[in-house]
Amino acid sequence: MAGIGGAETTAKKTRWGILNAVVVIYALFPVLWIVSLSFKSKDTLADGNFIPRSWTFDNYSEIFKTTEFVRALANSIGIALIATAVAVVFGTMAAYAIARLDFPGKSLLVGVSLLIAMFPQVSLVSPLFEIERSLGLFDTWPGLILPYITFALPLAIYTLSAFFREIPWELEKAAKMDGATPGQAFRRVIAPLAAPGVFTTAILVFIFCWNDFLFAISLTSTERSRTVPVALSFFTGSSQFEDPTGSIAAAAVVITIPIILFVLFFQRRIVAGLTSGAVKG
């Protein structure tokens, strides 16, 4: 189909050009709009111009002056990092056992993981709220970290098992026969093969924790542990009488940056991670 005749190619190129433009507008337009809002000065916010008439960094410098936002950003980063680290360690252990060891109920475990990975979060909000209030976890870091780990684990186990199934584990034996100690065999042979899968899973888990809104709004009540997605919805502007649009736009851009960087640098891995389980399933 590709590149048959000259005339057809030109027509095709035009068609692709149009299609591509449509896709770019479709996906990118709202994002660019908010970036543009975040750089507009207060009096031009509502002018509807796509390109700001007067550029300003005020919105950014202002949100970084409020503890409301800075605290939320610190919470977001800390909670997401800790939850990701723990979930990936526990998930790797479980997936390793599933890939390498024989035990009863193994296939059930993978199936149940998949089931749980699609659990309706909202149905657990009120019991979690109760449990955390009685344990004193409500509105604390662990109060968010623990549910995040729990909700990320099934996904992590499922994705990691799909990756680990592809690892040629005989290589470990071969390395030992060549005189490597078990530790060396693991470090030199298996770890490098497993690392991409683990890394991919870590990205997915981090994105999940970073983006969560439902748990964060139900299980926190103060700045102490409120994360940015929630803080965003409480934004009132730096003073009470100000239109918060500019601040919200700037804060939205700030929490979007890590996600955009992930997609830019790790797109192929994310795609592999998202489709690995489902395609083989």
Partner: protein
């Protein structure tokens, strides 16, 4: 290795199981339990909830808000996931399968971005696009008086969710299409099949399993999705109150924990039934 294997395996799996047990299975069971009590967030029934049997369930099934919400959720899933995301995802995967890698990667990246941006951010983006005064769409159509989210809340939600969720379908179909033998497509072309016939008779039999998996996953995700809350909060007047939003509002805004838990239980059971049917279908295929 087998005997040692079990002990080691338990050690490896235990931390994960423990966490999932305490923070997921236990709350889920608790939901089922609260569902048969008159538990409230405040008031006398908060201190000493009493069992009311299946009264909550009977009341829920009789509640016009619940029936309304069930209908809206069905509409939302059917419109945005089963039809919208499936069709658009497949179309994108199909159109992009032969283009140059950089173009494909760029498109893929952009569509992916819509999917993984934080919910509050995308909700805010869509506010900016759909709002009445100075909304982008209003400016583009030169129609500043339409408040899309108020006048057409469900249509807005469906369009929004197609925009947001198409990435997964597209990625899944892209890798599914890679497994279709090119020679068969070539043959179809030689015997004069048009694009649609080729998709129907050559491609579809190969990717039937993927269509099933994809439809199941996106349906469940859509049915459980809480993002509509951020866009319309269920309003105006319950016109876009899909199930997760209704449950949230009943529980945390209305304080009727028992009642909301009965709804949650029904949602849980619904999820479970759909997933089990799917697993059976898959097993029969394999």
């Amino acid at each position: 290795m087998a005997g040692l294997g079990v002990a080691r395996a338990v050690g490896f799996v235990a931390p994960a199981l423990l966490l999932v047990g305490v923070f997921l299975v236990f709350p889920a069971l608790w939901t089922l339990y609260i569902g048969v009590t008159d538990y409230q967030l405040t008031g006398p029934a908060a201190a000493a909830p009493s069992a009311v049997g299946l009264d909550n369930f009977a009341a829920v099934l009789d509640d016009a808000l619940f029936t309304n919400s069930l209908w809206l959720t069905a509409l939302f899933v059917l419109g945005s996931a089963v039809v919208g995301q499936n069709a658009l995802g497949f179309a994108l995967a199909w159109l992009l399968r032969r283009v140059r890698p950089w173009l494909r990667r760029t498109t893929e990246g952009l569509v992916l971005l819509a999917w993984i941006l934080p919910g509050p951010v995308v909700a805010y983006l869509w506010f900016a696009v759909l709002s009445r005064d100075g909304g982008t769409l209003g400016l583009l159509l030169d129609d500043p008086t339409t408040a899309w989210l108020v006048q057409y809340p469900m249509v807005s939600l469906v369009v929004f969710n197609v925009w947001r969720g198409t990435a997964f379908s597209m990625l899944l179909y892209t890798s599914a299409l890679a497994a279709v033998p090119p020679s068969q497509l070539e043959t179809a072309r030689l015997v004069g099949a048009n694009g649609w016939q080729a998709v129907r008779d050559v491609v579809f039999p190969h990717i039937r399993g993927h269509v099933l998996t994809n439809t199941l996953l996106i349906s469940l995700w859509t049915a459980n999705d809480f993002t509509p809350f951020l866009l319309t909060a269920g309003g105006p007047n319950h016109e876009s109150e899909v199930l997760p939003v209704l449950i949230y509002r009943q529980a945390l805004e209305g304080g009727r924990l028992g009642y909301a838990s009965a709804m949650s239980s029904l949602l849980l059971v619904g999820n479970l039934v759909v997933a089990l049917v799917y697993l059976r279908l898959l097993r029969r295929r394999a």
